[in-house]
Structure formats: structure tokens, C-alpha cells
Amino acid sequence: MNVIRLIVSAGLRDLSRSRWLIGYALGFFVLAEGLFWFGGSGPQVVLSLLNIVLMVVPLVALVFGAIHVYASREFVELLLSQPVPRKPLFTGLWLGLALPLAGAFAIGAGLPFVFNGGGGAGFSALATLAAAGVVLSFIFSGIATWIAWTTDDRLRGVGLALGVWLAATVLYDGAILAATAAFGDYPLERPLLAAMILNPVDLARLVVLSQLDASALMGYTGALFNKALGTAGGAAMAGAALLAWCGVPYLMSARRFARRDF
């Protein structure tokens, strides 16, 4: 536990001074404040911000995360040459990356809501949007970590990270849309719900939308999602799915880190 705490606090200190991460937080601040500035109400700002969060958070977590891990390799070797077990060291390294990323998002996107008194957005919608951004930071930094500890070639690793981002944010939805068009005569709601859970970006979108009552805009399918996720059981299922999405990349990376040669 002591090793984890030491490595996490070093990671926080390191990345809190990173110009890239400060720029990331500032970017979200300017965007959210700008949306309020141009007359958006709280729920409108949440909706607009949601679309940006779902694209930008995975992109930054994947690319920044992979580059950060590649740049840390030699220092990790130095740490591993000390009397330290690999597992707590890995946990510290991952949390030392994911926490600053999540914190930069939460501060950057959250402060404008504080300054504008929430702008009329409900607490649950704001909390869900913040949680979605934080959880996506953890999930995609975990995937970035797995990529970087699995692929030795930095260029290939960053390319793979971009590929994962493209697949999760664009291609997956395209495939779902194509499947919906092709099998439109069949009852697709349940398979679609399952498909949404298999992609953390879609899952986060649905969870936030279910708090905004915007699912009414999505027709029958949206109503089904709202029905499924709006109940206590549905919310628990969505929460469990997002937690699983946090856990799987972490466990895969930890396993890889514990077994690999440096």
C-alpha cells in the first residue's frame, strides 16, 4: 500500500505540472464556460458537453496515456531495480496516470458549473456527467497502459491507441447503425442494449442521457434504454458494466506488467 501511495503521489505531482494536462483542463473550462456565455442553460450545456466528453476524454486518455507510459519506461526500470514488487508498482503507475487525467477533466469541466450555480442543471445530471468523464478516463487510460506495455514499438502503440479511439467512438456506432438498418424488421432493442453495454462510450452516453430525460428524443429505442437504465436494477447494471470496463483493462495490463521482460 505504501508503494502504491508513493507512486500515485509522484504521478499526481508530475502530471499536475504537465503543460499538456493543464491545457486539457483549461480546454474543458473554456468550452463549458463558453457554452454558458453563449446563453446555454444548465441542461443544454450538459448535453453539448456530453458529446465533447465522449469524443475527447477517450482520445486524450488513450494517446496521452500511451505516450506517458512509453516516456516512463526507463524510470519504471529504475523503480523495478529497487526492492519493490511489480503489482503494487503497476497499480501506483496506473492510478498515477488515471487520477490526474480524471482530475483535470473534473476541474476543467466542473468549475464553470460551480461559477454559474449549476445553471439549472439537476444535480444528478451533473454528477452523472462528471462520473462518466472520470470513469472514461480510468477505462481508456487502462487500455492505453495495456497497449503500451504490450507493444514495444512506440509508433505502433500510439497508432493502436488511435485505432481503439476510432473504433470506440465512430466505427462501433457505424456498425450498430448498419446492423439496425439491415435488420430493421426484427426486434433489435435487446441486442442493441447489449451492444451498447459492450462499448463504454455508448454506455456512458446512455447513462448520462437517462438522467436528462433526453432519451425521449431517441424514440422507442431510447424509451427502452430509459426504462432499462432508469430503474434501480438498470442503474446497478450500468454501474456494474462501467466498473467491469474499468477493471478489465487494469487486470489485463497488470498481468502483462507482472510477466513482461523490461
Binding site: A10, D14, R17, E74, E77, L78, L80, Q82, P83
Partner: protein, 241 residues
């Protein structure tokens, strides 16, 4: 102090180490030399537990290295590339490694001699990203010696150092040898190993080509200078030195 028995390591179709057996004498400076891709770094990383060999065993102070990481408490390591988190200060980096190494112990003995000799005290509050390559190398050397380890593993320690800093580091290596500590050093600059190394281990294509004292190497190949002796070993293995 360090015993290596039949060490084998293969990366894909490439045999990095082919049954390496050797011993590093306690209280001696051993130069680990060999051409590029001869297996030196793989051997060093195996000693540190960073690389897991396919076969063979390594014993550090009679403890097998695969029995856990605690044996590394006896080792100070200076890697070839000195890279630290860019936004930490020098003081942060040193404190982190010290804390990770000693845990909650506050009574750990610290050897600050290199920190003072390299004038790193005035660099303590500087961010790593603002340091030159040479200063990073000095920080790396200072960390390796900081905990007064019984064994020092130095991978190309003088690469990137100015002549004065290199001389300070070599003096430090001599002084720890005089204290009876064991030093394993790799370098491509043969001249700087002369007068520093007691023993030589020559590695080529993952196999030991020579192991013995510095004097016995000169005698065996009929050379008077270390550089010439190493060149002879290279030629004997079909390598152009």
C-alpha cells in the same frame, strides 16, 4: 557475491544468452565487455530481475533472484539512459526512489558524496525537463550510490558525462572498491576501464568468450593495453573491432 549458472534467454528466434556461467568476485570491479547485441544488457537486466531467463539460475549473496525482490536491497543500479518524470524536481526524484527503497525506514544510511561532488544540491529544485543530459546522468549516478549498496551495477556510467564528472565518478568507483564492495560495469570506452577494472568478462553472441582477471587477459592475448586486448578478443570471435 554474484553467481550466474547456465543462463539462457531467447527473444523470438534470437538467442540473447546461451548458457552463461560466471561469477563476480566480491570486492572487485568487473568490466562486462562485448560487441553490440552480445547480451550484456540482457545479463544485467537478468541480475536485476527485469528480464526472466528461460533457463539457468542467478544467485546474489547466495539468494536466488527469482525468490522475490528483496535481494535488490543490496544493489545500486545506474541504467544506460537516465530518464525521470519530466515534471518532477531532482529532489522529488531522489526522495521517491529513497522512499520506495527504504519504505517507512528513516534510519537508512545515505551516501550523499556524489550529490555534493556533482554540485547537485543547487539543482534540487529544478524540474527534470530543464536539466541537460549530463546532469540527468549525474542524478542517475548519485541515486545508484545513494544507499551505500554492497553491489553496484553501472551500465555505461560515463556516457554523457563531462571529463571532470567522469573522473569524479571513477574515483567514487575506486573508493567503493576499496571498501570491499562489488562493482559490475559495462562500457564501450575501453580506455576508461583500464586502471578501473580488476576482472573482465567478455560476452559475445550470448556466450562467455573470456572471464578472468585484467592481467590474465593481457597475458593471454599478448597485449599490453586493455584496448588492444579487447580488440584481440573481438577478432578471435570474428568481429571487427
Amino acid at each position: 557475491m554474484i553467481r550466474v549458472e547456465g543462463l539462457r534467454k531467447r527473444y523470438g528466434s534470437h538467442d540473447a544468452l546461451r548458457g552463461v556461467t560466471l561469477e563476480f568476485r566480491t570486492g572487485a570491479v568487473t568490466a562486462l565487455v562485448g560487441p553490440n547485441a552480445s547480451g550484456k544488457t540482457t545479463l544485467i537486466k537478468s541480475l536485476l530481475g527485469l528480464v526472466r531467463p528461460d533457463a539457468g539460475a542467478i544467485f546474489v549473496k547466495d539468494t536466488p533472484v527469482d525468490s522475490g525482490g528483496d535481494y535488490r536491497r543490496a544493489i545500486g543500479y545506474m541504467p544506460q539512459l537516465a530518464r525521470f518524470p519530466e515534471n518532477l524536481t531532482v529532489a522529488d526524484v531522489i526522495a521517491l526512489v529513497a522512499s520506495v527503497r527504504s519504505g517507512e525506514r528513516s534510519d537508512a544510511v545515505r551516501d550523499d558524496e556524489l550529490i555534493e561532488a556533482f554540485h547537485l544540491v543547487r539543482e534540487m529544485d529544478r524540474l527534470v525537463r530543464t536539466l541537460s543530459g549530463g546532469t540527468r546522468q549525474k542524478v542517475s549516478a548519485a541515486i545508484a550510490f545513494l544507499f551505500s549498496p554492497e553491489i553496484l551495477i553501472l551500465d555505461e556510467p560515463t556516457a554523457g558525462l563531462d571529463p571532470l564528472a567522469a573522473a569524479i565518478l571513477k574515483d567514487k568507483i575506486r573508493s567503493v572498491r576499496a571498501e570491499g564492495r562489488t562493482v559490475l560495469i559495462t562500457s564501450h570506452v575501453s580506455a576508461e576501464l583500464e586502471g578501473l577494472a580488476d576482472d573482465v568478462a567478455f560476452l559475445c553472441d550470448g556466450e562467455i568468450g573470456f572471464t578472468g582477471t585484467f592481467d590474465s587477459l593481457l597475458h593471454q592475448v599478448g597485449e599490453r593495453r586493455f584496448e588492444g586486448a579487447i580488440a584481440s578478443l573481438f577478432r578471435s570471435k570474428g568481429r571487427v573491432a
